[in-house]
């Protein structure tokens, strides 16, 4: 398309009586097209969904942590109960010393135990 024709189209687009669709189509045929770079879609999608994915990962980690803690806590409570029952059966009572394994030790024996004398 000649330069003068393009100028006419540009001026024509400001004319209320002109057909704007015809003008835009003719300009497009003349090479007046606009687009973004080839990686435009990827950039938009990665900006949107990488953030969402990282949020999802955070949520998943918290959920897993809660689940694991729940399992460990239950097992731990069960182990403590078994330990208390076994102490009660062996010692006949439940004291702090027997709980920590010092029920029949004296101070001297602890010193011997620690120093190895």
């Amino acid at each position: 398309m000649k330069r003068s024709e393009i100028k006419e189209l540009i001026i024509g687009s400001a004319d209320n009586d002109a057909d704007p669709q015809n003008i835009s189509r003719r300009l497009e045929d003349a090479g007046v097209t606009f687009d973004f770079s080839k990686v435009f879609n990827e950039k938009v999608i990665s900006k949107l969904f990488t953030t969402v994915i990282s949020d999802d990962r955070e949520l998943e980690f918290t959920r897993n942590l809660n689940f694991v803690f729940y399992r460990i806590a239950l097992t731990g409570i069960a182990a403590i109960v078994v330990l208390l029952i076994s102490i009660f059966l062996m010692e006949g009572s439940i004291s702090f010393n027997s709980f920590i394994g010092l029920s029949d030790s004296y101070d001297e024996s602890i010193v011997c135990l620690l120093t190895g004398i």
Binding site: L27, V44, K47, L48
Partner: protein
């Protein structure tokens, strides 16, 4: 999955996008990227800034999709976001970089010559770009809507939220300015 969405109507695409389906949203981006490029690049010139604003348009669209009630076309909704962001960018530049702005005209019009396969196409787009950049943004946006998007005067008034009379008077003033500018080009 991408292929599946090629034929899907926009209401379904919007619904799937709200549910976090990235392929559905990518199809929306694919369908409307050229329309957004015409508005953004027509107003700002072809630059990396235009690419950034283009991305911002789709990010804003994604986060406001739940507000889209489907009363208007999706294209009109996207167009309005593109217009608002572009005009805001022009205002921002005028405020923060007044030395790059001359009489309210934007100076970012550097096209990458390598993008054009023929000299004729390069010349055509350069001419359109120079003509647009010579206008004040409030006239330029009307020309972009008519010349590049092919909107009628009524459609232009609706999408810009302006009375029809205002669009007509701006169109007439833009025509006079363009005649003067194009004489020199």
């Amino acid at each position: 999955m991408k292929e599946l969405y090629r034929q899907t109507d926009e209401v379904e695409l919007v619904r799937a996008s709200i549910d976090g389906d990235k392929f559905a949203f990518e199809e929306i981006v694919n369908r409307y990227r050229k329309m957004v490029a015409r508005t953004v690049k027509g107003m700002l010139g072809d630059s990396v800034f235009a690419e950034d604003i283009g991305q911002e348009v789709f990010l804003k669209l994604y986060y406001s999709l739940s507000e889209f009630r489907g009363e208007a076309k999706l294209s009109t909704y996207i167009q309005k976001i593109a217009i608002n962001l572009t005009l805001n960018e022009i205002k921002r530049r005028k405020r923060f970089f007044p030395m790059f702005s001359r009489d309210g005209k934007n100076e970012l019009s550097g096209f990458d010559v390598a993008d054009f396969d023929t000299e004729e196409k390069r010349e055509a787009i350069e001419l359109v770009n120079k003509a647009l950049m010579s206008l004040d943004p409030k006239f330029r946006i009307i020309l972009v809507m008519r010349m590049l998007q092919g909107y009628s005067t009524k459609e232009t008034a609706a999408v810009l939220n302006l009375p029809l009379g205002t669009v007509l008077s701006r169109l007439s003033r833009a025509r006079e300015q363009l005649k003067e500018v194009l004489k020199k080009l």
